[in-house]
Symmetry: C2
Subunit: 401 residues, 2 copies
């Protein structure tokens, strides 16, 4: 399927754009200001349309049951999680392997199940993979991170010696707002997003709980001693940042040296953050969203000591996965953020200039499909997962001619 630039523009024209350039409180340079000024006016609209590029979409693989995440092996094959609890290898021609053996039991319900997958930075030598999943427990469930050595037997992947290296607490009796994205940082440490699980006790602001946090652990599950709350009385030492609602996107930006995150907010409050150690991103005290009835939440949109987002969406799109584009196939996209959207049934490109969102392009609306994740492949193409019981892996490349 060839998608022309013209029809992409027609999708863009439904947006309106704020006029004029406001002062820029969103620079990525320097340390973050506590109590910084609020998001720029009309922040929910990019200041101008992004330049658009005609692209081609092809189906790489199909027949996946709610694929949630993917990772490339050095040999070019993909490792893909399916939310009901399967992990498969996918060959370059799109053939699916049988499901992996050695997986843990998962709670596959609502938004729970087998979730993210990431390779160890030294995978080529140690063959270690990391998985997140909703783990069934007494009194409910909790997000767990496990690692195992990936081998193969008769064409199927095998997880050898699977070990749980982290268990988020407390247990909660629902399968909502699980977060659960994984990313290795340039520090060799593993960052894990944990949603607030929609509890009424609002543990996102509670340092004795892992809910509504980004945590940072070592790849063996030990806690880095320089974590921001390590040693603080009553605080869980794995916590890196707090005040998150349902963070389903996390990606390191090696060129800028920052960690990007996005999260599902309440109605009209989906947002993009830059994650820095020890900071409080405000949920549920501050948000640009309202509850589903339109009622305000918390104390407003800003508060001293709580961090403003870089960008937010109103109406909500339900962002589901994040990649920083660094490839050469789409030269204009270099350094931009790519965001999948479930409710929004689209792929969003946020064009960054000087660390600020200078344009938003809406792609793939013609599919009318829920997008679960987006990744850049080793070939510089953009890969997305569609979220349904017969989900696909799609590959976007520049249109030719």
């Amino acid at each position: 399927m060839r998608q022309t630039c013209a029809s992409v523009l027609s999708a863009i024209t439904v947006l309106t754009f704020a006029l004029g350039a406001a002062a820029d409180p969103n620079s990525l340079d320097g340390p973050p200001a506590i109590g910084q000024s609020p998001a720029f006016p009309n922040q929910t609209r990019a200041i101008r349309p992004a330049a658009c590029a005609a692209y081609h979409v092809e189906t790489v693989a199909e027949g996946l049951d709610h694929p949630w995440s993917l990772a490339w092996l050095p040999d070019g094959r993909m490792l893909v999680t399916e939310r009901p609890g399967r992990l498969r290898l996918i060959s370059s021609d799109g053939a699916l392997s049988p499901p992996a053996s050695g997986l843990p039991a998962v709670r596959a319900q609502d938004t729970g199940g087998l979730l993210d997958v990431a390779l160890d930075p030294a995978f080529a030598e140690n063959r270690l993979v990391y998985l997140t999943y909703l783990e069934p427990r007494d009194g409910g469930s909790g997000i767990a991170v496990a690692r195992a050595r990936l081998t193969e037997s008769n064409g199927a992947p095998v997880l050898d010696g699977l070990t749980v290296i982290f268990r988020a607490t407390p247990n909660v009796d629902n399968a909502l707002n699980v977060g659960s994205r994984l990313a290795f940082g340039p520090d060799g440490l593993l960052y894990v997003t944990l949603g607030d699980r929609m509890t009424e006790s609002h543990q996102a602001q509670d340092l004795s709980s892992d809910l509504g946090k980004v945590v940072r652990i070592a790849s063996d599950g030990s806690i880095p001693t320089d974590n921001p709350f390590a040693g603080a009385p009553g605080a869980r030492p794995e916590i890196f940042t707090l005040g998150h609602r349902n963070p389903e996107g996390l990606a390191f930006d090696s060129a800028r040296g920052v960690l990007w995150e996005h999260e599902n907010g309440p109605r009209g409050g989906d947002k993009v953050n830059v994650i820095r150690p020890g900071l409080n991103y405000g949920w549920p005290e501050i948000t640009y969203g309202a509850d589903y009835t339109g009622e305000p939440i918390g104390s407003g949109t800003q508060k001293p000591g709580m961090i403003q987002p870089i960008y937010y969406w109103d109406p909500s799109i339900a962002p589901s996965g994040l990649a920083v584009y660094t490839g050469d196939l789409f030269p204009d996209w270099k350094g931009d953020l790519l965001v999948g959207a479930l409710k929004g049934r689209r792929l969003v490109r946020l064009h960054l200039e000087d660390g600020r969102v200078a344009g938003e392009e809406v792609l793939l609306t013609e599919l009318k499909e829920r997008i679960r994740d987006v990744r850049q492949g080793p070939d510089g193409a953009v890969y997305v997962l569609t979220d349904n019981a017969s989900g696909r892996i799609l590959r976007l490349t520049p249109a030719v001619g």
Copy 2:
């Protein structure tokens, strides 16, 4: 505002209607058949449009913060709950009293707060009123039913001697799917709907839990000894029916001698039931809905020992309140069900013939407002509550001329 029949018809034309009359498994006559045949084909579409009547809409009162329920005093004034935790009297000219004193603390979050209100059948003599609300508790919250004597002081209602007569258990740490409608039966007993609270432990099928149940209690909180599970080992004696998801509508139909209930299902599974003692309405084992991703839930749409709905909606409308119309102002509506809808932003009239849904009329779509509840007034007019921070009470009467 005068709403003409023509524009009502234009709303109806978006529906399509099944052709021909199927066999009728939905008769209300006789005892329910366990393992009865499934809902009639295309049950989600009424078999023909209901006749429509031009109606007039006026605002009776405004400035209510998420009004949830109302009840008429014998003197014609209304008692109205506001979800954040207030109870007011409203005079016939729409003036709001100050909030009542003597109310319990409520957990006003997500769908929780101060919810239903009902008068004692002997209110004229004993001045007793009954309230449901989400009660803050250790480890979360639970629905409670309280009763108190209604007096007045300086123009404000006063709840004297408020006593909690029922507490649903277990406590849950979210404020979702709370159910919580009240209705007195012709037996003088109080029926209370309790939602499943979206727990992953799916307690709607668990007789040791009150979640996902309709319970029946006496007005002093004692448990009738002829309740269907009274004396059953391990079962909570208050349970009247089981297998409900989020029942937000409950009304006795004195002409037919049946108790109607409706509940929010998953996507495409909102439904209307007739409630009979001891029966299992199937959630989450059977449903006509799918989860939000489109994935099937449970084991299908029917199962021996589980009761079929009388009607269901696909797409979902989020039914929020129920009345059986018995007045004279709209003669064609006599005996019909009126259903408010939140997501659907409409009032639905289900026209019944021989206990079966013979037609569906969609009203009030022109308001584009979430409807929280619908009641018949003592004047035979239809009253609805709009669900927002500046909610209104609207009155529908036949259009004149």
